[in-house]
Symmetry: C2
Subunit: 159 residues, 2 copies
């Protein structure tokens, strides 16, 4: 399953991780989205350059690939990332629905250079109100009414 083709795309993702780090854009992370034998999206961490905490390599690459395809899903595509995705990027991957993801460094490797997203994975399992960033429920009739209207909406695009 892993051959010269896959290694070539991964080396591209790793080259982006180095480029982003050297230019000071953010942490040492790179990713590419591949469709067939073509790279249709590439990204590197730009959290510092854009002061955007969501500008992780995978998110940037997914956004670019979707923009190029004019589609909000990456059906049949592959993602190559230089490091195991954090929970945010994993969530983005699920919404984008590529076929598979290849990763080089692990989250333990990331923790060893002080990018500790294993902390976030642990926090996901703690009850909402006990989280370090507490999530506080505020049930609301109007919010539910909007949901009901969506359900009954005739002309909606399902996704």
């Amino acid at each position: 399953m892993i051959g010269a083709r896959e290694k070539r795309f991964m080396q591209h993702a790793i080259a982006l991780s180095r480029k982003g780090m050297e230019s000071g854009d953010g942490g040492p992370f790179g990713a590419v989205v591949v469709k067939g034998d073509e790279i249709i999206g590439e990204g590197w961490n730009q959290v510092l350059a854009t002061t955007d905490p969501t500008a992780h390599a995978e998110v940037v690459a997914i956004r670019q690939a979707c923009e190029r395809l004019g589609a909000f899903q990456l059906t049949g595509c592959e993602i190559y990332t230089s490091c195991e995705p954090c929970p945010m990027c994993l969530g983005a991957i699920y919404w984008a629905r590529p076929q598979r993801v290849y990763y080089a460094n692990t989250k333990e490797d990331a923790a060893a250079i002080d990018f500790d997203d294993s902390f976030i994975y642990k926090e996901l399992e703690v009850p909402h109100t006990k989280k370090k960033i507490p999530l506080i429920p505020m049930p609301d009739q109007e919010a539910l009414a909007v949901f009901r209207e969506w359900k009954e909406k005739g002309d909606k695009t399902l996704y």
Copy 2:
């Protein structure tokens, strides 16, 4: 903890959820970022309008607030969202580090209108290679070398 102030901000988030739905931008989700008594970021789901699977209400609001602050963290801020965050948005929230999050509808309410992110929460617990979108390890010496260089980099900004 929940008073007229909090209810006012939540109603604003809910109004955005309705506005986004009615304009066909995406699903019925809205969010605001609040600092003190000021809304510094607002978002609604724009997945369809922008063909961007990462354009969830919370992500849009966080990006806008960070751009306005010129900072990649939302220290001391609150987020009000019309629905319990999905794993991607929860990850984005952890990276942005607001003080707390208030939510109206639950993920069960979302599942009832066919936005089933509870599926993603379950997938997070499945081993990578067994996931519906498999995550395939490709350990690589060059990827580790980039991590080592980051660790030894003298002029980096830590975050």
